[in-house]
Amino acid sequence: MTAAPALSVAGLTVAFGGIVAVNDVTLDLPVGARHALIGPNGAGKTTFVNLLTGTLKPTAGTIRIGDEDVTRLDTRSRVKRGLTRTFQINTLFAGLTPLEAVSLAIAERDDLAGIWWRRLGGFPAVRDEAEALLSSLRLIEHARVPTGELAYGKQRLLEIALALAAKPRILLLDEPAAGIPAGESREVFEVVDALPDDISVLFIEHDMQLVFRFARRIVVLTSGSVLAEGTPDEIRRNDDVRAAYLGSTHV
């Protein structure tokens, strides 16, 4: 018997009016996975992530975290079970510093953020953990600068830091390097690569070089359906994928 996958999705479907955005997707994310989710614009990748996090409710299908069916649970319950995400477009707290933002994420994780009668400074463990996390992402020298004043690339790293602060078991990265110049996007993916092996990662990415370098398996989504799934080599050789998605692009 193998252990249950970290995340498993069966027959997941969502339709808006007459448009089926995600169509009967079945997918397992094993523990320690490094899956890439690729597909043309409008293939339903972000919608799929929104279904996984509970932002959207599926029309049909189930989502399981480990052994537990979470299809009907809200976002908060899924975060509590170790599922977190980043956003394609920076979704940060412009007025807070990275240290404050990560401290907040940790406080929410540990259910401390309802405490109103004690100073934030009275929780040294939160501060220490936040500083350690920011150090590991090489953000510590920017820890006290308001997020809105950070360079764009640093903001992308902070996106990941906020997701990691929840101590996830499953991490969904929606184009983590989106908008970063090609030369610098490697830095973001090196952070992903260095994550501990018990975290399962699913990332959306358009840069095929990054995908083939960092993904251990690739899922190809077109028009809301899984076109192919396999190792990078299998996907590279897959004729359907070439025809439908990669086109004549040399990879």
């Binding site: 929410e108 109103w116 004690r118």
Partner: protein, 318 residues
């Protein structure tokens, strides 16, 4: 280049500010009534800041809680228990509970709906108070309140000395609680929700619960401000509940600066003093300039008095 203040300097400034407020007791002994009114308006504006400036709830009906607190304290006194602190506690608890119940309708709604719900609730409560003449005195107001001495020792005197000191102590105590709340993990969570609600959901934050608590806390403190008014003036009028008062407190807060802790207090001092200064002029004159001032403050976009100050003076970040 803004002048940077060390954190210690900022704290010293706060202490000085409160000492100056207290000292006004000796500097303007014949204006104690106005000073007490300023303190009450300041507390009310600070309470609104929790809901509006920190939690981001758009409300044009906060006077509902101010007035409810005033009537609660006044009615308790008339019913035979005129002990001041009990009146404050009753107002606090009552307004907190009512607001918590109402908050279901408010925290999930869009801004326009929030506005409408708060206006509608305000209108309903005014009408109820207006109709329940046997209890509230209707449009004549609640008269004949006579408070017992504070702590059984300090009688409310004709010159308003006790009223001022009593109000000052209560306002300062509640302000310290609010200040602590905004420096707590919960305060940080409120800033997070105000800054980016979508991210807070993604962090697993129970956003609605957090906002409901903020709205209830805000209302409870507004209730205490109203109770202070009832106890120190020994009268409660329908205007305590009115949309005019809701608009006035909003103006006071915006004048001082929202989301800045001291914005409500600074706004109250400036607004009340200016209002007092122009009180002899016709009300249309006051209304005209207030209207123009509001339009100007939005077009210039200064973030209030404290917003303007903060561009000149910065403090170190924690």
């Amino acid at each position: 280049m803004p002048l940077t203040l060390p954190r210690r300097g900022l704290f010293a400034l706060e202490i000085l500010f409160w000492i100056a407020l207290a000292a006004s007791f000796f500097v303007f002994p014949d204006r104690l009534y106005l000073l007490t009114q300023i303190l009450i308006a300041a507390l009310f504006a600070v309470s609104l800041d929790i809901a509006l400036g920190y939690a981001g709830i758009l409300t044009l009906g906060h006077a509902v809680f101010f007035g409810m607190g005033a009537y609660a304290a006044g009615l308790l006194a008339k019913a035979g228990w005129a002990e001041p602190l009990t009146g404050l506690a009753l107002a606090f608890v009552l307004c907190g509970l009512v607001a918590y119940a109402l908050s279901v309708m408010i925290v999930r709604a869009g801004e326009l709906t929030q506005l409408m719900v708060t206006i509608a609730v305000g209108a309903i409560v005014v009408e109820i108070a207006n109709q329940a003449t046997p209890i509230t005195g209707g449009s004549d107001g609640l008269q004949g309140i006579s408070m017992w001495p504070v702590l059984g020792a300090f009688d409310f005197d004709l010159w308003g000395k006790t009223a001022f000191v009593y109000t000052f102590v209560v306002v300062l105590a509640l302000f310290i609680v609010v200040r602590r709340m905004l420096q707590s993990p919960y305060g940080l969570a409120l800033k997070g929700i105000h800054g980016n609600r979508k991210r807070m959901y993604a962090l697993g934050s129970p956003v609605e619960g957090r906002l409901r608590f903020a709205y209830a806390a805000s209302a409870a403190i507004a209730g205490v401000a109203g109770a202070l008014l009832a106890q120190t003036t020994e009268f409660v009028g329908l205007d305590t509940l009115s949309i005019d008062r809701s608009a006035a407190v909003l103006i006071i807060l915006v004048l001082g600066g929202t989301g800045r802790l001291y914005g409500g207090i600074v706004g109250a001092i400036v607004y009340m003093v200016v209002h007092d200064f122009f009180a002899d002029l016709s009300p249309e004159f006051w209304m005209f300039w207030l209207g123009l001032f509001l339009m100007a403050i939005v077009m210039i976009g200064s973030g209030g008095i404290l917003g303007g100050l903060s561009r000149l003076v910065r403090s170190e970040r924690s």
